[in-house]
Amino acid sequence: MPTFLILAVLVITIILAGLVVARPALTVARGGKVLAFLAFFIFPVFAGLLGLENHMERSKQTSFCLTCHIMGQYGRSLYVDDASYIPAAHFQNGRVPRDQACYTCHTDYTIFGTFSSKLKGLHHIYAQYITKPQQPIKLYHPYNNRECLHCHEGSRSFEQGALHTADAQTMADIKSNKLSCLSSGCHDTIHNVQNLDHAKFWKPEQ
């Protein structure tokens, strides 16, 4: 739902609640009780859920992730003019939606993951604003092939790729996450933020 509509619901709820606050004697009548129930319970819960859904959607945006200073270099790495940089190649060629680039490949991260992931998300905010994030930042767990396979599984280039089908076990190991797609010698150039100073960058046409 668009933000302005949620804001409209919030404003209507504030007006209704304000009416009851200004004249609590309204609740003496049955109609007033219904109004109070709507203004103090139904509408706030509804507006709160709409707002939460809106925040969750917005937090999938690339711009949201890049608001943290530490993510700046990772955002920059999406523009490296080198096809061996996996995130950059995906971002520049539209293999992932550009406005949700981070979320598309890190679907189980922080608030989108389990409860413990959500707690880690809070820790990120604590580290960003209270202490200092430790450098270099690292994923909590090795990157899961699932994130690659939810797009690549079934595609011809993946299923019939010469190295993927070199032997039957390789494909089985990739699909069961025993052999990482990011293994050395395979797709092993990821954000590579340490070397960005020497990289050439793609400038999208406006």
Binding site: T3, V20, A25, T27, A36, F40, F41, G51
Partner: protein, 81 residues
């Protein structure tokens, strides 16, 4: 009885005030695309909203509980107004 009515009204005012404050925080947080706005939405807005709703529900329960104590069958809160 007047005291009881005033108490209920003041609880409703307090509950409503907290709910309005929570809603304002939530509305403001929607205007800002930043991780802190999400925290403000949930931790501050959500908390104020939750406390306000709980206070309101407690006031409703108290309102209902005061009814049987009144032998006339007319709600004490209603008779005042």
């Amino acid at each position: 009885m007047e005291n009881q009515s005033n108490t209920i009204h003041s609880r409703l005012r307090l509950a409503g005030g907290l709910i309005i404050l929570g809603l304002i925080v939530q509305a403001l947080s929607l205007l800002w695309n930043h991780p802190l706005s999400f925290i403000a939405f949930t931790a501050i807005g959500g908390l104020l909203l939750a406390i306000g709703i709980v206070l309101y529900l407690l006031a409703v329960v108290n309102m209902a509980a005061s009814k049987p104590e009144d032998g006339t069958g007319v709600q004490a809160h209603s008779r005042q107004s």
